[in-house]
């Protein structure tokens, strides 16, 4: 009885998990999630994109600026921002393995597509 109860319990927990926990997080979700990028804690997004934020420890992110950087530039800034600016406050998301390569790719796509 006990193993069955455990299985049922696990199923109940899985069913209770939000949908995002059962599939890879999108670029925007990674941008917001506290245990992932948590980028929203420092940056603001263009109006109407993602949750509103008043954070300004990092610069406001605009689509035109992102596209000027290019996908490779955005990626480099996420992987190891200190390579370009030793004084940066931004965490080295790739170098310190806060995000994996695929997660960084999804954030790059999200930022590159900002209005």
């Amino acid at each position: 009885m006990k193993p069955r109860a455990t299985v049922l319990g696990a199923l109940a927990v899985a069913a209770a998990l939000p949908a995002w926990a059962q599939r890879p997080l999108s670029g925007m979700e990674l941008f917001v999630a506290r245990d992932k990028g948590y980028c929203i804690s420092c940056h603001q997004l263009p109006a109407g994109v993602g949750p509103p934020s008043t954070s300004d420890l990092g610069p406001r992110l605009e689509g035109a600026r992102m596209r000027a950087l290019g996908k490779a530039g955005i990626r480099a800034a996420i992987v190891d921002p200190a390579a370009a600016n030793a004084n940066t406050l931004m965490p080295p998301f790739g170098r310190h393995r806060i995000l994996d390569d695929q997660e960084i790719d999804r954030i790059v796509e999200f930022l590159n597509g900002l209005p």
Partner: protein, 273 residues
């Protein structure tokens, strides 16, 4: 650039074989913050993050009595008789009135920084009582809430005698060292980013940070070291234990930075995010 200047100042002292004089370090940080935050008056530094947020400041004023129940509970802990008939109140001058501004202090006999929490536990140990867990709200937290309330308006008067400079320097070094998975130093947010918003909340400047502890969050006391431990977790670093030499030195450095500012215990704070 100023971050670099501070690091250079410390390096210059290290290279000359001398330690960075605490007052020179404090003055450099005060000057930098005044330059960076010209709108902030000297008296406003004790407000911490609320100095940059009128709504938060109003909520703190509204909840000025948030620590009342805690202080009452702490008074009981403070005056509770030990088995030998003495109490915590008997271990400190004036029963503990107007003492908080002198902590942390350096004890040359043990060659260590002694925080007020440690002094409380030294008292209990000397009287053969079990020491308090420094993170326990009902005992240490309450005792601190009470005894620190007896020093409201008293100015921070922490001293760093020559023998204590290595401890001060260790605290300074840690404040400026990037740690953890997110690679932040305390100074990243509280000096370089002071006054800017992280997760929507303004970052308190290094000066003034040590003046209002414990804070009261949802009725419970949160000590300075507990709050530093929360920061370390957010930085993705394994927090040092409360009462460890690392956190004691950090508290020593941080409190010295607030020298001359008035204490105000039990400041209300909103629920942690």
């Amino acid at each position: 650039m100023a971050f670099r200047r501070l690091a250079a100042l410390a390096l210059a002292f290290a290279a000359s074989g001398a330690l960075a004089a605490p007052e020179a370090v404090r003055k450099e940080i005060v000057d930098r913050l005044q330059q960076q935050l010209p709108q902030l008056s000297g008296a406003e530094y004790v407000l911490g993050s609320a100095a940059f947020d009128d709504a938060l400041r109003a909520k703190i004023d509204e909840n000025a009595d948030a620590g009342a129940a805690l202080v009452a509970a702490g008074q009981k802990v403070w005056t509770a008789k030990f088995r030998d008939g003495r109490s915590l109140a008997n271990c400190f001058p004036n029963g503990g009135r107007r003492i908080a501004g002198n902590y942390p202090q350096y004890d040359p006999r043990v060659k260590r920084v002694v925080t007020l929490e440690m002094a409380i536990n030294q008292c209990r140990k000397a009287h053969k009582e079990a020491i308090f867990d420094p993170t326990d709200a009902a005992t240490m937290g309450a005792a601190l809430a009470y005894v620190r309330s007896l020093s409201n308006k008293i100015k921070v008067a922490v001293r760093v005698p020559p023998a204590a400079e290595p401890s001060f320097e260790e605290g300074r070094r840690m404040y400026f060292t990037r740690m953890g998975q997110r690679n932040f130093a305390c100074a990243s947010c509280h000096l370089q980013g002071a006054g800017k918003r992280f997760d929507g909340v303004p970052l308190s400047p290094a000066i003034g940070q040590a003046t209002h502890w414990p804070v009261v969050r949802e009725g419970a006391p949160v000590t300075l070291q507990s709050r530093i431990r929360e920061c370390l977790e957010l930085m993705g670093a394994a927090p040092f234990a409360a009462g460890s030499d690392e956190l004691n030195d950090l508290e020593y450095f941080l409190t010295y930075l607030s020298k001359g500012l008035p204490l105000k215990a039990n400041a209300w704070r909103p629920k942690a995010p």
